[in-house]
Symmetry: D2
Subunit: 342 residues, 4 copies
């Protein structure tokens, strides 16, 4: 039986990626698309690469008939999302791809996003969408909050290690390299081809990146005491992909063993043989995560490298994986697309 | 019922693309993989992006059990292909992705490839694999010869126009821009990132590119007299994609009308509204072709622009489309993947 | 003796390229910089790559002391330029890099730019800045109009051929591939890295690109009758470079001989051996132009390929070459930088 | 007075970069070029971008007249270099760009390069070529060993901090992002455009990269006891540039103050204001190094980011800077080219 879904905020990259992935999903059908500034346009005008799919015209949210829907994906900008979701029918299942419901604590939200949350009651209700770690809650959730794409990469590398206590929580450095699509379709000078290509640079340095709020919330909960990682994201000239190089204090073999054991049965998470490292190009366009562990020459230190596609497993793929669970479908439905290389 | 197929020559880009596309094909299963120099290796070692798929180990062709197969895709280098296919069981259906069986006339083959053909009897039997124009023959063929990727792009732009007689066959210029994956995984200096990126240059200029053999054969047959197009391919710094900008003498509206009428019912071929032009990024990773027609300010001259993905619709996607027909499956089975953008 | 110059409109790419090139010019000194919206800022804030040079702070034009200057480069947007130059001291030499003074005929200007010219008397005075063809007039000019970058590439390929009458003026196709810096630093969606990289597409098709006004003006003057070329520009994913592939009716050897003879003594223009073709990467960052001629297999047809760097020889390098002539300096002063490869 | 130099091994990227930089050097002239496998060829055939320069034909080293030379740059592969330099006239000044003379201790050499050194007596004589730290010795040296490009980036970030004792030598992580030209013009599958572009991956992980030999030698000498840094290089899809992100334990303000004080009078080294970080694109093609310091949110930890161009300041620019000193020329002669952006 086909489930009807809406994509609210379909004119951004994560909205387009949802449409791309659902195109070959056996049980989901895009029944409604919203895009306020582009209301009235065909999706093919906004994203010509989607012009070969049968998709509804973009509309304003208030003009959509949401009554017949099984689930809404909300790919709206941060802050907009909370207002929109608050106004949706209470019985409509929602997967939110914005940052609005990732942090459970209202004061954490205010700290990282600079203003009070507009829907703190929903904040409480929302389940954090890192599928492999919140599977049971997601299955029964009404509202699931998609994780930050960088936050996902860092957590896949670190959660089992903190849980198992095989690394020192006070000596964690996440050096992350991100493709440009993570910054969205915004018109910013530093995202121009002429500015960005042929160069690499860090941004949001020194502990200012908002995904740190997620790391703090999750890692501290696991460790049972405050954990504050170091995190430096870099923009590299590629469109898709996140590579998180994570430096930890811990026995490399124990680190590898712990990750391998934890992810043995996870379809989308693959731990490479000890000493092998992943590349973003080998997960491009897919829902897979490749994780490598290397022992440093400095005894007692290990390097964990995690690679994923920020638009797929980092946001829209994860969102569909969660939606599958919420709708009682096979978790991997529509997500077995192989990576696109070269 | 699942059909079992082999990919002979699975260590190149077209072989890998076949594996990628078949991963979500509902009725094909990769039962055998060959790769002579890499025999014994797992596909994940040769192409790490395929490591999440269940695929057989690479073997030498002579060690494969071909008896239980429904069809073999032959993605071997030019010249190797004819020897291998000659030795295959006579009742095994074959889709060849090399250049070996594209030209029907042995002397044409010798002209363009510089030596006599080793299997002229198969050359006679082979059906030219431009699906939308050889559909009936492909359905009943034993051996189908995949077209050149550039040749496909040029023919989609021109065949209906030559058939309808709306353009002058003596004034055709095909200026083509090609991504680098079309050159394969060969170790050549000009294919290095440091050499190729951030630059554009023509190659095989002046009528020396081998795909001209296909243009000559096909266009002359349509026109009923020799047609010799001008063709200049260029290498541009992108991985996938072909953009053919075709300059013709003919009434632009008639050109647009003719192409639109001919392709109206073709699932994978889309003619854009008059005056709109396509971009390679909007077909990337997919089996779709986008075609635009523009009227030049010089009266009586039109420009046809065709965009396709050289690895998908230009070779491996086309090969699967043909295999679907040969096996009695739905022509589009496994090929409805949406383009990957950004 | 050092000559003092100003760069008006120093916050765009051509302004920055002027500053870069002048950094090693033995006789020019940047004495003033304007940038209205960025007035008050250091150049290092606007263009961090220029932070190692000693440059004046950006100011508003009206706050600059122009009295002690020898020459002003005007790198302002089209239309703004004519108003600013009109208001400059009458005895200040000016090299304008905008499109405002390229067309001599006010009605041509209105045709291509959509509104009447605001300084038609200056339009008459301005010398067209294609150095190798207007050298004598440039030497004594007060106002020189830099050419369009695409217009320069096309003219280097074609002018001597039209002058010598070795090609048919009614059968000229210019298929051009351009890097993205030619579009400037404007915030446009199609110039984003995620949109532009990994793809190729045509733009301003069918005879609508404004540089056609220059082609028409110049080629018609040479031929002594109207010449209307076909011109299709394409955007390719590279930052710098223009490759013009020009299809002509004419004897290939005569075409090569004519270009070779005409450019034999031109320092910056190099005609490659017959049959060789250029690449944009081999002129990147330099003032050199490489030109190749190929004979097509269709008798009587030739292909001329010209490569230049749009920011250097296509605008700022050309501007300095002209300024050198206007100031009585060696024409090549400051322009002998070798291309940057890889 | 012009000094005559040779470039031995001129067919690689560092050889070509030497030729490019010397093209505008006021006092150096390329009098001889060697390239064994390409002996007899014009440089324009090997590197078309250098075809506009007047350069001697490539020859075999044994066929060169070295008697009239003032200095030889040796841009040969590792291991070849030591044999060639051993055979050069004892009074010829040499700047070696290979790894052969970077390590002073023969057993260190054997450890990192896997075989005994063939010219240990020269090893002893060679001066380590990190100009700003070995200036006095370089001035009087006969043989200077150019540093590794990654080693240069890491040392600019760290040397003054170790000298001043403001960081903990046992907690240093260097996460480095490198452009592909650092790997040279070798035909390796992972350097192909189709393989490398649109992806990021680590290499030589876990303490196996040979530049660690240099870090160990230099940092241990400064600290007066063994220092073993952690070092993970990554290949990112750009041609030029190294970005070293260095994580240290130390007071961020003290770190910034120390670096600023040390480099205040260094022409080519610029420390950005506290909190600002550099980008590789802003030093591309130049001899400049940009260094930024950020304080982490974790108290007592700082991040130092250094950016340089691997072919320029990281090898050929550094080599010319050293040659200038050895020849009694101005240290910056020929090296004031501004970065090329975009």
């Amino acid at each position: 039986m086909t489930r009807k879904i809406a994509i609210l905020g379909a004119s951004g990259y994560t909205g387009a990626e949802l449409a791309r992935l659902i195109a070959t999903h056996p049980e989901l059908e895009v029944a409604a698309l919203s895009g306020d500034r582009k209301a009235g346009m065909e999706m093919a005008e906004v994203f010509p690469h989607l012009g070969d799919l049968a998709l509804p015209r973009l509309a304003r949210i208030e003009d959509l008939d949401l009554s017949a829907l099984d689930l809404a994906f909300c790919a709206l900008p941060h802050a907009t999302s909370q207002a929109v979701i608050k106004a949706l029918p209470r019985d409509l299942k929602v997967v939110d791809l914005s940052a609005d419901f990732r942090l459970r604590d209202p004061s954490d939200y205010e700290t990282w996003y600079g203003k009070p949350h507009a829907a703190p009651e929903l904040q409480k209700e929302a389940v954090y969408g890192l599928t492999e770690f919140y599977r049971a809650q997601i299955r029964t959730a009404r509202l699931v909050a998609g994780t930050g794409c960088n936050a996902a990469a860092g957590q896949y590398a670190l959660r089992p290690l903190l849980e198992a206590g095989v690394i020192d929580p006070d000596r964690i450095v996440i050096d992350l390299k991100a493709g440009v699509s993570g910054a969205g379709r915004a018109l910013k000078e530093n995202l121009l081809h002429a500015e960005l290509s042929e160069g690499t640079h860090p941004y949001a340095t020194g502990g200012t990146h908002r995904h740190l709020g997620e790391f703090d919330q999750e890692f501290s909960a696991i460790a049972g005491r405050p954990v504050r990682v170091q995190f430096t994201p870099h923009l590299v000239p590629m469109n898709r992909g996140i590579l998180a190089t994570v430096y930890v204090d811990g026995d490399p073999e124990a680190v590898h063993r712990t990750l391998s054991a934890r992810y043995r049965d996870e379809l989308f998470l693959r731990v490479l043989p000890f000493g092998a490292t992943p590349s973003t190009r080998h997960v491009r366009g897919s829902n897979f995560v490749h994780i490598g562990v290397v022992g440093d020459r400095v005894p007692g230190r290990a390097i964990v490298v995690a690679a994923l596609d920020n638009l797929a497993k980092g946001s829209s793929g994860q969102a569909i994986q969660n939606a599958n669970l919420m709708l009682g479908l096979a978790e991997s439905a529509g997500l077995m697309l192989a990576p696109v290389f070269p």
